[in-house]
Amino acid sequence: MIDFTFTEEQEMFRKAAREFAETKIAPRVEEMEKTGEVNADVVKALGAAEMMAVTIPEEFGGLGLGYTARLIALEEIARVNVATAMMLQVFALGIEPFILFGNDEQKKKYLPGLATGEFLATAAVTEATGGSDPTGIRTSYKKEGDDYIVNGRKCFITNAHVANVLVILAKDEDNPKSFSAFIVEKGMEGFKATHVEHKVGFRGCNTGELAFENLKIPAANLLGAEGKGLAVTMSAIGEIGRGGMVGCALGLHTACLEASIKFASERILYGKPIAKLATIQNKIAEMKIDLEAGRLLGYRAASMQDAGQRCSNEYAVAKYHTTETCQKAAKMAVDIHGGYGCMEEYAVSRYYRDAAVVGPSAGTSDIMKVIVARWAMS
């Protein structure tokens, strides 16, 4: 029989992450919603709670807990605040290329600081030309002595203004079919974080643009082999990026369900709680069924990742299902709340806005379908 249960240790990770989210993140949500800005205390708390260290190997200062533990942590944090979960999931997106492709020197230099939160990471691939087809990027590099000179712009980059260590993708100026990944440190000559986006949801999670004007990168900061940059960034996006969004969607979906049950149990109509009405139960049941299915899909992919198996297709299925159903759940949660669902005092109005951002992050549902169709027909 397939064992679908979490281990005692994984249950404790969930408890630890939930306690962390409820005590350290929840009190900051209102402020983040108001300002839309990253809360420094939240970032500090994430580091202190070792949330950035989860997937980093122990030999480099991490916890080496793998991807199921990561999904558990993200789900619990997103249940309280999906913006914080998004920020955390993208830290991991910037960390993973170091783990998979960094040489020993790069790992020793960056991973311990990334594990503690001293360094904050992101991966910058997306450009105005699109994100899901990275071969369309225009950012280019050329070798000059011991350095690489990079020019171009990146957009829709989560943590753009927060990260101080970035993994970027650029193409060879002389060979447009050759892509390389580089480690960029904030403050390098020619690096600038420019425009800040104002999103409908995920307030408290930074998204913005980056400009590289004759950005000088030392040759030692080439990540992976020259010309193999697509593999470096896409491996992280396919598994870490999609997996991270699964965690965000599952947590947000859970929040929608919990808020709906609470409200439906307290709201009296015709002399009894509306939770007794079949039409409300129908919505609650749909939310629960979708959530259960999403958890099975997500944790299956995570357990494959822990076993060292390729799982980007499985994550694409999970990403499609969880983000689509999360948006559906947010709509139903607002519906169950009636007029209250449109009021900012009620968290479901935030969930509804957040759900709109869950969809396109790390690849739209349409792109997920393209990937899944290719997989099915392969």
Binding site: E8, E9, E11, M12, F13, K15, A16, E19, F20, T23, A49, E50, A53, V54, L63, L65, A69, I268, G271
Partner: protein
Amino acid sequence: MLNIVVCIKAVPDPAKTDSIKINPATRTLIRKDIPMVLNPLDKFALEAALTLKEEKGAHITVISMGPPAAASIVKECMALGADKGMLLSDVAFGGADAFATAYTLACGIKKLESFDAVFCGMASSDGATEWVGPQIASFLDAPVVTMVNTIEENEGHTWTVKADFDNGYRRVRVQLPAVFTVTRHLNQPRTLSFSGIIKARKKQAEILNLEQLGVDASKVGAKGSPTIVSNMETTQNKREITMIQGTREEKAEAVFQLLKKSGSIG
């Protein structure tokens, strides 16, 4: 180095109290399907021990009586920093009142080589008798200070603590070994950490049954409990809804009169 014992209890999650039902035949709580958590006040007892361990060095043993599933709560305490966990678990221990529970826990504590201080939460969130701590002290023949909110001096074997007392407080000087029951004002309990959970990987709770504990079956569980629960029932908090009709002024006046009648306003 101090040897500290922390008595803990796995209780039904207080956040799920709405789901707790009572067995009318046995007059006990039906705990099935309710997730078990560490009794909230026991977190403060454990934190007191962990703080002392950090400040002066100590060996912490967590002890609990409960079903086998409570082992995960004991393990949680080890993930928080306790060195050893002991779970007293046997069908014979079932249905124990505060007296039999205290007796069983005291027998477990006596199994240890020695102890300097025993910390307990002042009450459990399910039973809430506040008797177990003092009764443990009685079985151990040790002094007890209940409702401790501050440990003022902890040098040597004479400690000074402050404890709640009506609207004021007591300052008590006590000779170790002693038992302390603590309030939520004593400290700010730490939360579980991932690295703490990893460190606890090799620690397992020692589970002792009736025979291993070496106690008389007639003194534990329901058989050893002098308390008779005459009745226990679920109460329902029903809200009454009164629809007020009329103009805005009439409605406001009606609300004012209702509040006045209820004593909410003078």
